[in-house]
């Protein structure tokens, strides 16, 4: 099979190259005619087939399988012959929405993600602005800023879990300045623990994209605003920020999705069973599927959350007209 696809690929080699190779001697005229004939309606779309096949195998088939599983009563008793597990229709979806912590987890995930993004944006932009102008040691500072981002989530969570222990450095540190902080890894505070650690780990992402946006600001623009006598704030507000709008809006979407999908952080920080306040969507789906063996319900939860999350996401993407070119034009 690879041989035949190589052959068909060979035919599409640009004529110039094909003409130079001895083996392509038979083809040049045909190829030239081809190239001349390429129009919008006559594009070699079949060349997308390998990519299409890959997408079907990697994305479409698993999604359809997941969808099918969400319609089954699939548990430890039926797992072995999972294709013949009893069909339950929308039963899992109804249970997920009406009789499971799904909606609570949805709000936890969403608020956690939005809060984390909202907190990381000013941090990231401030850091990008601070390292924009050259100063001695800037390269070192920029590298240091990236440390939280490149550290594996597992390591980050393990270290923070140790620090948040009831007799750990954070609690005793707060105690020494007269603050009794209570528990961080259980109870309502655990939610804030999750937010704090996520902010710590995720702000360099915003910083990176903001930095990329700043790089695109033309030197002439700085010069022009200096000539006009703009002080730092109007310059920042009316000259620099418009350049950042596109990259940062994109960063917000990606970061929010990353926060929502973050499984490692709550899993390693809190373990199973987790405090109720940090049972995020991926965490809940994991526990339902792989700890309680309710694969059908777990799949239904995953699909329900996909739909629930797609709605605000689509609205947001529409609202900010997420097109980098457009953003930069303004």
């Amino acid at each position: 099979m690879p041989a035949s696809s190589a052959e068909s690929a060979g035919q599409s080699v640009p004529s110039g190259l094909a003409g130079k190779t001895p083996s392509g001697r038979g083809g040049p005229t045909a190829n030239v005619r081809h190239r001349r004939g390429v129009t919008a309606s006559n594009r070699p779309l079949w060349m997308l087939i390998p990519g299409g096949v890959l997408m079907i195998l990697v994305i479409v088939v698993p999604i359809l399988l997941g969808l099918y599983i969400s319609l089954l009563t699939l548990d430890q008793y039926t797992l072995r012959q999972w294709l013949s597990a009893p069909f339950t229709g929308l039963g899992n979806y109804i249970e997920a929405v009406t009789d499971s912590p799904l909606l609570k987890s949805f709000w936890i995930s969403l608020s956690f993600a939005v809060l984390s993004t909202a907190a990381t944006v000013p941090l990231g932009i401030a850091a990008a602005l601070a390292t924009q102008n050259h100063f001695p040691g800037r390269a070192v500072v920029r590298s240091v800023f990236l440390i939280p981002f490149v550290m594996p989530s597992f390591v980050v969570a393990t270290v923070w879990r140790t620090m948040f222990q009831p007799d750990g450095v954070i609690v005793s540190g707060l105690h020494s300045v007269g603050i009794t902080s209570g528990l961080w890894l259980n109870g309502p505070n655990s939610y804030w623990t999750l937010v704090i650690v996520e902010i710590w780990a995720a702000w360099p992402f915003i910083y990176l994209l903001a930095l990329a946006g700043l790089q695109s600001v033309d030197h002439d623009v700085h010069e022009a605003s200096a000539l006009d006598g703009a002080s730092w704030w109007p310059k920042l507000r009316y000259v620099i920020f418009p350049y950042l709008k596109g990259p940062v809006a994109l960063a917000c979407v990606i970061a929010t999705l990353n926060h929502i999908n973050n499984f490692t952080l709550p899993f390693v920080l809190f373990g199973v069973p987790a405090p109720e306040d940090v049972q995020t969507l991926p965490f809940l789906t994991y526990i339902t599927s792989f700890q309680s063996f309710r694969f059908g319900l777990g799949a239904a939860m995953a699909f329900s959350s996909l739909i629930l999350l797609a709605i605000p996401l689509i609205i947001y993407v529409r609202a900010v007209k997420l097109d980098v070119d457009e953003g930069a034009d303004k």
Binding site: V53, V61, L79, R80, Q81, Q291, F293
Partner: protein
Amino acid sequence: METRKTRLAALTAGVAITVLALTACSGSNSPGGSNSPGGSNSPGGSNSPGGSNSPGDSTNGAGQTLTVYIGADGKYGAQQQQWFKDVSAAFQTQTGATVNFQTFASGSEELTKIQTSVVANQGPDIYVVGTTFTPTAYSTGAFVSLTADDWSKVGGKDKFVPATLGISGPSDSDQVGIPFNSGPFAMAYNTDLLAKAGIDKPATTWDGLVAQAKKLTGNGVYGMAIAYKDNFDPWKFIWAMSRQAGNPIISGKVAKVDDPTTLKAYQTYFGWLATDHVVDPASVGWNDGQALAAFASGKAAFFPMSTTSNIPTLSTSAVKDVYKFALMPVVPPGATTLPAGGVGATSILAGNNIVVAKYSKNQDLAFALVKYLTDDANQQFMYKTFGVLPVNQTTIKAVVASTPSLGPILDAAAGSVATPFSGAWADTQLALMNVVVQTIPDLANGSVDSAKLQSLLTAAQKTAQTSLDKAP
């Protein structure tokens, strides 16, 4: 026209690739899937090398490899690696087959492996699973239920301590779990601290123990070391106290998590810190290792342990000359004698079982390896090296004779009671743990509200009952 043809040809080729790929994917599943249920059990497994399996063949495993999935030993990693090599070498001499040991670091890792292997119908031949997980493993139907013939291949059922077979299957004739090692509860106590307080030995009732612990608390020392934040420990206390009060938590198809006996068990367990003040307040954040450290440094008088793996650490600690073992109390909280219907459970039936996968094409070879692992020589070795108790009758008799100080632990093993053999147990256990996790914030504030505890129990009851209702 020509382009059209090319496109059509390419399209056909593309579709062909897709179809081929899809059939290849499902193909690797289906032959095993259709053969395995009966095929690998019965001699009809024609595609397996051991198609003409007979007991005699088990010694002829030349060129075969058995895969064993076993938990990594966190305390004795190097020794465990050496043991893997030794077992493989010995087994190769014996049968010609090699043994490939794969390790997992956590229970959830093992769970995922079992789930994927069950679906794919391929994976390790042998799994070492915890006793409380055996019912869930059984409920997947993916593991061999041993026939009389199979039992004889592993050396006969008689060679095992009868109590260790208590959680191998739903009945004597339907068992998937072969006992591998045992590790019951025990309570360590500091003889020095007890002597100073004028106490000669630990009480045998939970109430009595608390009274003693109160006497022992003071001057930086606490009566008990308890690991409230441990992910595995707490439910075992709740189960033991409930069982002693007559509640098995699961009885047939009925869950009894919200029973008053269980509420009382939780109140007692949390009360040690909240109302009796015999436990270090920091222990709301402790796991088993941290509680062990507190006892090992002489800061706690009693240390109820839910595992024997702490013994090697204790024997080299600061308290190594002043500690002894006793049974955990067997009379439930609020009682002075065992109530009617109560069972004096000294421990859950704890330890590990071996299960053999139905999809394994080398089942006879697998049983031969299980025989080797559960025979006296290896059981002796594991006891000396890893601190796990033997399940082999001969070995345990030798151990009793040589180490009298282990007496209480062996008594605990003998008096241990199996957790309910139900596919819903894993869910129930998680629900019992969840009650503890959600109560810890209140515990840290020093008061546990009964109404809130009751509502958590009601939720746990619902989880357990839902899970039970799913069972066929």
